[in-house]
Symmetry: C2
């Protein structure tokens, strides 16, 4: 991938990091809860979802603080889902992104509440982003849809662990692709994009989300990798990446970054 | 309290129950999650918050399915908070409203996810209620604010258990009154009420919420009851009930039901 792509990715990621830094300050009613929220929201990660949102905002117009808050809202929702996924009653993971999980640092009940509050903050950030109400309402509808889907996906995933049989397409669509779609739509809406751009962004994000998750399964040697083998996985990744890139055609002016992003997320090594 | 009041309360509660019955049907991606959500959403209760929302909708105009969905959204958010409060890592309660808690019936991880999904559904119900976007955006902003507050309130509450010292006013304001305020505002907004009505409804709900919670503490012999004694509690309940009723004056046409509701919630015996 070109240096140009990585410079732009890093620039967008830095915007997200800087914006997230301004959240969860010391004036919260329960300071310890704000600390727990902040800990996970600022614990790094690739910031794929907010970068995706910003890339679509840019493809439709400009990136301003409104688009940035909307993009960060998607990351807050993702962060909440990771905190809850790591809980002892769920995946029981002690580490996340190379650091102790939220519940290890802040205790189980506070981790549950930090997740709960991050979900609420995600909706709050968009509700109060200052955009015109019709777009805000559509953004919140997209986020809510994904938020419900993520819970259903996680349920199917945990049930698959218990039963030994999984509908991997459904799990990945609900748990991963749905939030990618919300991120893309929110980016388009933040920049005042058209209906056609909304549709194209959704198609792109759904395909990229699936490719991203299958690559994840290959890296983790589970899911699609175990069920279908490496060759089928690589074929699915390639066809979905092509589908993603094709969906951009004619809908946006400049698509170089979004095309490269699809390739990067499909082929990443970590 | 008059028969007229109770007939109207029961009528509004029945509207809420009937509407909730239509949610969480069998076509959900993860049926077991929908079952868990349905179990708690339909497990009875006084339905104080949605009735409050409907009472304000009626005071500002009419109650239609839009107002009903908005009112039910508040109840879904309340239901999620109860499911999470009952978790082993939180209050560790095995029963709720005379029935086994959600995590007892559906297991801990599914109860966490059922709560998560109910919060998301609460936002979804309003986002998709079909009202004009400016009102939807304001309703979602009110709900998000309360959703964040509830988490901070629960945090302060659990920290008080650990430390033995509590700021009861802050806890009750965040954990109880904030969602009462959201319910009232959502009711006004659903019926197209004025700014003045919004302000009056907020004042009413804040005072009623505090009186409601202090009565709760008296019934449970904890909180305000333990800290301040019965006389001070009754004084606070009375002053807040008067404040609530006064806030209605001049802002709404018919206030008989809302006045009676303030008295009923302040003086209830269960």
């Amino acid at each position: 991938m070109s240096d140009l792509f990585h410079r732009e990715y890093d620039r967008l990621r830095a915007l997200v990091e800087a914006r997230l830094e301004t959240y969860f300050t010391a004036d919260a009613p329960a300071k310890s809860l704000a600390d727990a929220m902040r800990y996970s929201a600022l614990s790094g990660g690739k910031r794929v979802r907010p970068v995706l949102a910003l890339a679509f905002a840019k493809a439709c117009g400009v990136i301003d603080n409104t688009a940035l808050d909307a993009a960060c809202a998607v990351e807050l929702l993702h962060t909440y889902s990771l905190i809850h996924d790591d809980l002892p009653a769920m995946d029981d993971d002690d580490t996340r992104r190379g650091k102790p999980s939220n519940h290890i640092v802040f205790g189980e009940w506070r981790a549950i509440l930090a997740g709960d509050a991050l979900q609420a903050e995600a909706f709050s950030k968009i509700a109060n982003c200052g955009l015109e109400p019709p777009r805000v309402a559509k953004m919140l509808s997209a986020l809510a849809r994904a938020a419900v889907d993520v819970c259903h996906g996680q349920t199917l995933d945990l049930e698959a662990v218990e039963s030994g049989s999984a509908d991997l397409y459904a799990i990945h669509a609900l748990k991963t692709a749905s939030l990618f779609v919300a991120a893309a739509k929110i980016g388009v809406l933040a920049a005042g994009g058209t209906e056609r751009q909304l549709t194209a962004a959704s198609e792109y994000a759904r395909a990229v989300g699936l490719a991203f998750q299958i690559r994840d399964d290959i890296l983790d040697k589970d899911g699609f990798y175990t069920a279908y083998g490496i060759q089928k996985c690589e074929e699915l990744i390639e066809s979905n990446t092509i589908k993603a890139k094709n969906s951009l055609k004619g809908a946006f002016g400049g698509v170089r970054f979004l095309s490269s992003l699809a390739e990067e997320l499909a082929g990443r090594s970590s």
